[in-house]
């Protein structure tokens, strides 16, 4: 178990004090209810697609007003409340002692909590998110870190960040191998600076295979851009980095994924905000990000090799039709087209026309339409 000690400040800063205060009031509310002889309850926003609303000011999706009530009368809810109290206590201790831990470490630490122990890491992750929602703090405030996400950046951009040998500047083409620069879990300006760049766009790519293909074909050199490998559903810091590049440096953001229902959701979490983290969409989502493909129409227009939609795929597409984030003309038509043809396709299916086809034809076509090439 490695609980790292950060040796920067020894007294709590204002933000830490506020975080502890918020956690204390959560525990205090439960205590007061028991002290009054009531059945303890906790209410929090309903975290489902039924309860997300579009925020006109920020252009992202946040939780609406629907609440769910956890009552101690329900066994599952009782377990959650018990864990909440233990987790609050754990985080408070961590903040006071200037330590931090990974989400996985917290999951293992709970082994010693008796009935409050988490049975899977999903449970502990979910509770950490619940606490964010209720306390209006962020996971970073709790000194909880995620694991490495596997996301990488390659392209014309320089980051200045803390390394074991002090602050260093790293250019994401000149100073890294062809695998790119690994995105850290914290990309906030205080420890992670983005140097100004003249890159024309940043492109988020779903698969490692396509990321490597574009690097090998010299796509960045040719088009002066930044590539971000999402590695599946993007981690918070990956989304945060794309948002910072887009909003702080006015670099247009593009999303390039496979052509299937799950990829549509990847785009939604980059551009609109994910349902699980809708409380911090303001901080993570890049509303200006544009989806270029693979679209259902691409499958038809480029006559791409396909796979049949599975029952799960069809279910996911139908769920998306009921998802408020997809309620616009483009997505409804794309989803319905895909349902109608019953087929999906992958980014790498473009290799049907040769390895250079994606960089010579497909992307120039698509980016040309957007005026980026």
């Amino acid at each position: 178990m490695t609980i790292q000690r950060r040796s920067r400040t020894l007294t709590m800063n204002e933000r830490d004090t506020k975080t502890v205060g918020n956690l204390t009031s959560i525990v205090g509310q439960l205590y007061d209810q028991m002290d009054a002889g009531e059945v303890p309850e906790m209410s929090l926003p309903l975290r489902s697609k039924k309860n997300i609303e579009f925020n006109v000011n920020t252009g992202v999706w946040n939780y609406g007003n629907l609440q769910t009530v956890r009552s101690l009368k329900n066994l599952n809810a009782a377990h959650m409340m018990l864990r909440t109290v233990y987790t609050c206590d754990f985080i408070k201790g961590q903040i006071e002692e200037h330590k931090s831990s990974t989400l996985r470490e917290m999951y293992y630490i709970s082994e010693g909590w008796g009935k409050a122990k988490f049975h899977s890491q999903d449970e502990s992750n979910l509770l950490a998110e619940d606490l964010e929602v209720v306390s209006k703090c962020m996971r970073e405030d709790f000194k909880l870190r995620p694991e490495e996400s596997g996301a990488h950046v390659y392209g014309n951009v320089t980051f200045t960040t803390q390394t074991r040998k002090g602050m260093k500047s790293i250019h994401c083409m000149d100073d890294v191998a062809e695998t790119g620069f690994a995105v850290p879990y914290n990309v906030e300006n205080d420890i992670f600076k983005i140097e100004p760049t003249d890159a024309k766009f940043v492109m988020a790519i779903e698969t490692g295979g396509m990321f490597a293909r574009l690097i090998e074909n010299g796509f960045c050199e040719k088009n002066n851009c930044i590539l971000v490998h999402l590695s599946g559903q993007p981690a918070r810091s990956t989304r945060r980095l794309i948002k910072r590049l887009n909003e702080e440096y006015k670099i247009p953001a593009i999303v390039f994924t496979d052509g299937d229902p799950w990829s549509f959701r990847i785009h939604a979490s980059v551009a609109y905000g994910a349902i699980k983290t809708a409380h911090i969409s303001d901080y993570l989502a890049t509303p200006a990000a544009q989806f270029i493909g693979i679209t259902a129409s691409d499958i038809l227009n480029y006559d791409l090799p396909t796979d049949k939609l599975s029952d799960k795929d069809i279910g996911a597409l139908n769920a998306e039709l009921a998802d408020p984030r997809f309620k616009d003309e483009f997505w409804i038509s794309e989803i319905q087209t895909m349902l109608k043809m019953g087929k999906k396709s992958e980014q790498q299916a473009l290799a049907k026309y040769g390895l250079d086809y994606v960089t010579d034809k497909y992307l120039p076509d698509k980016l040309g339409d957007l005026g980026l090439i």
């Binding site: 525990v27 439960l30 205590y31 303890p40 697609k49 101690l72 018990l82 999903d122 349902i275 699980k276």
Partner: protein
């Protein structure tokens, strides 16, 4: 040995008992002609008699032998001890050995019993018997003769007489036994019984339609028997006797006129010893009074003093027609011998115990009804849970006169009745509310009748008469309701256990941790606990004493409400297992009546206190009581967990509810929180 078989009644005269009335020459000639057709009939109709495939032939033979043994033991009031052994000889040839401890067969009769088709068929002697269902052991022996060329070897011993043995081959031309090696012998260690050894071409299989399954199911509905089975691999299975109580002997009755067919009627008339048709009707049938007889004869325009044997076909036709339009009392039903609810339960428990079922729905024995002039009784039971596979369709065990039906389930009224019920209402899965339900259940249905109506001569499926389907349906419904109530109770118990976990473990931990966190004293939780529980909790515990059939049952009653409470507990106990003096020792005990319905009273149980009621059941019937079947009165059942309200048909007035309950349990819906799993990091 009874080989009553309606389809081949036309040939039944051959085997008629001595002393039959004199017949015309033409009739005697006809008899000769028919005699030839017996074997022809058998040859041609192997399939409908059950010898249509190799696997079935093997099973049918054993079934004939075992059914006969059980019938004979029952007749002689002997607890059956039956063993079956199958030896594989190769090339699809098997040696079958079946032995019983029945009354034995007198020497003179042995050749006929084993060597004459349809022998002993007592025409129109109606009674509930197993043998009704087959063509007889002689058919098995003949089939064995034909397929292997080897004689059957039989031994029999009547108590107090010398044992006899002989080899028998059936002459298929004359339907006469050819006996060799007939000699007396000393049957070591045997007092009475019969032994058959024959060779047969067949095929031994395992699974649903196997000898093992047949014997296992036979053991379920014949809990008074002990059955030993040795399979071809030499493995021996013993289905131990579950009870020493013999089934009530079924009584012979005369046929009821309803449901008589013309041919049948005509033959019956010809064999009557009565002098007049009127006497024939009143004496040879049940439920025909002189007035009814006159009524029938008047409608049929037949003179009452006609000799029965002189009735021609047209007259018979008229009489049968007249019977159809005359109101005749339903047949007597006291001739039937149902298995009975406790013995069905015992049988099921004994044989299925390995599957550790959670629940045996109290088996149901319906009141007798009749169809086509034949009385019948339907019995049903359901076993649920434990290791019974839950991912497939339920198992349906079908029985007719205590004989398992293994073939043609789809054509059977029992299967149809199960399929036509909406089991979803009773807690089983069923697509669209029709068809065989899915789930961890075994459904047993037994029909007992003087003449079970089968769909075909193979006697493998019960015919779908409305009267029968209705009765099956009613029986199943009652069982299913009990199952549902068990499942509900189970569900409630789960909820209650969850509440215990909350108030005993989780809440105190939250209180302790939050007090530590805040640096405050641990709050008093009594009020929160009562609000979360808000129930009277009745918890049964059963202690079994090792090796003894003694059980101590304790009901602990907890008051988890905020008021003092009074109530009565009720349970129906098997009287045989109750010691009237001991049971009265409990302070709460009030009474027990002659049906075993007992009551205990609990007075002014204070909030957060508990008390308990204790009694002992001992003896063979002790395990038939299910501790979950406990009821309450004198309190609003809504605030009680672990016991149901005293049913209205219990026949005992419970305690009146004295206080008005305002504090009903809220239905706390599980607040399932939706989270989309696939949407984030």
């Amino acid at each position: 040995m009874h080989s009553n078989n309606t389809t081949i009644d036309n040939f039944a005269d051959i085997g008629a008992k001595d002393g039959a009335p004199k017949k015309s020459i033409a009739h005697k000639l006809a008899e000769k002609q028919q005699e030839i057709s017996v074997t022809e009939f058998f040859e041609k109709n192997k399939h409908i008699l059950g010898f249509d495939s190799k696997t079935k032939s093997l099973l049918m033979g054993i079934k004939e032998a075992v059914d006969n043994s059980l019938d004979a033991c029952e007749e002689a009031n002997i607890l059956p001890d039956i063993s079956v052994r199958i030896d594989a000889l190769g090339d699809d040839e098997y040696k079958i050995i079946e032995e019983d401890n029945g009354p034995g067969i007198v020497h003179k009769m042995m050749p006929n019993v084993f060597g004459r088709l349809l022998f002993g068929s007592r025409f129109h002697a109606l009674r509930q018997s197993r043998g009704q269902q087959g063509i007889g052991i002689s058919a098995t022996i003949m089939y064995g003769n034909i397929t292997t060329g080897k004689p059957a070897h039989v031994q029999s011993m009547v108590e107090g007489e010398i044992a006899r043995q002989m080899d028998i081959v059936i002459d298929t031309k004359t339907n006469r036994p050819i006996v060799t090696n007939d000699k007396p012998f000393n049957w070591e260690g045997k007092e009475h019984g019969t032994y058959i050894e024959y060779y047969i071409a067949g095929k031994y299989v395992t699974g649903k339609q196997s000898v093992f399954e047949y014997l296992k199911n036979t053991a379920i509905v014949n809990p008074h028997s002990r059955i030993t089975f040795t399979d071809p691999s030499g493995k021996t299975f013993v289905f131990e006797r579950a009870t020493d109580i013999m089934p009530v002997k079924s009584k012979e009755i005369k046929p009821h006129p309803e449901g008589m067919e013309i041919g049948e009627f005509q033959k019956y008339a010809q064999r009557s010893v009565q002098k007049t048709v009127r006497a024939f009707l009143t004496s040879d049938f049940s439920r025909v009074t002189p007035r009814v007889a006159d009524d029938i004869l008047r409608k049929a325009d037949v003179k009452g003093d006609t000799k029965p044997s002189a009735l021609d076909r047209d007259q018979c036709k008229e009489i049968v027609k007249a019977i159809g339009t005359t109101k005749i009392m339903a047949p007597p039903t006291d001739c039937l011998s149902p298995i009975g609810d406790t013995l069905i339960k015992k049988g099921l428990m004994h044989v299925l115990d390995g599957m550790r079922p959670d629940y045996y729905a109290p088996p149901i024995t319906r009141p007798p009804r009749s169809v086509n002039g034949n009385p019948f009784v339907i019995e049903a039971g359901i076993v649920y849970g434990g290791d019974i596979p839950s991912d497939g369709p339920v198992t349906i065990l079908r029985f007719a006169n205590r004989v398992p039906l293994l073939y043609q389930p789809g054509a059977c009224a029992i299967t149809k009745a199960v399929s036509n019920m909406d089991w979803r209402r009773y807690g089983l899965e069923q697509r669209g509310g029709k068809g065989i339900p899915y789930g961890p259940a075994i459904i047993l249905v037994h029909i007992a009748s003087t003449k079970v109506p089968f769909t075909s001569e193979g006697k493998e499926a019960v015919a779908d008469f409305e009267e029968i389907s209705n009765e099956i349906n009613l029986a199943l419904r009652t069982c299913a309701r009990n199952l549902k109530s068990h499942l509900n109770k189970d569900e409630r118990r789960k909820k209650t256990r969850a509440k215990f976990e909350i108030v005993q473990e989780i809440l105190p931990m939250i209180a302790q941790k939050s007090a530590d966190y805040l640096g405050k004293p641990v709050p008093d939780l009594d009020s929160s606990i009562s609000k979360i529980m808000n129930v009277i909790w009745v918890e049964p515990t059963v202690e079994k004493e090792k090796g003894k059939s003694k059980r101590t049952i304790t009901y602990t009653v907890y008051n988890y409400t905020r008021q003092e409470r009074s109530l009565r507990l009720h349970a129906q106990l098997p009287l045989e297992a109750v010691n009237q003096i001991d049971i009265a020792q409990d302070d709460h005990f009030v009474e027990i009546n002659d049906e075993g319905k007992a009551a205990w009273e609990i007075d002014n149980l204070q909030p957060s206190k508990h008390t308990s009621v204790k009694f002992v059941l001992a003896g063979e019937m002790a395990d038939t009581f299910s501790a979950d079947d406990v009821y309450i009165s004198g309190i609003n059942p809504v605030i009680v967990m672990g016991a149901d309200a005293l049913p209205g048909d219990w026949g005992i007035k419970g305690m009146d509810i004295v206080e008005y309950e305002s504090d009903l349990v809220e239905d706390d819906d599980d607040d399932t929180e939706e989270v989309e799993n696939l949407d984030d990091e």
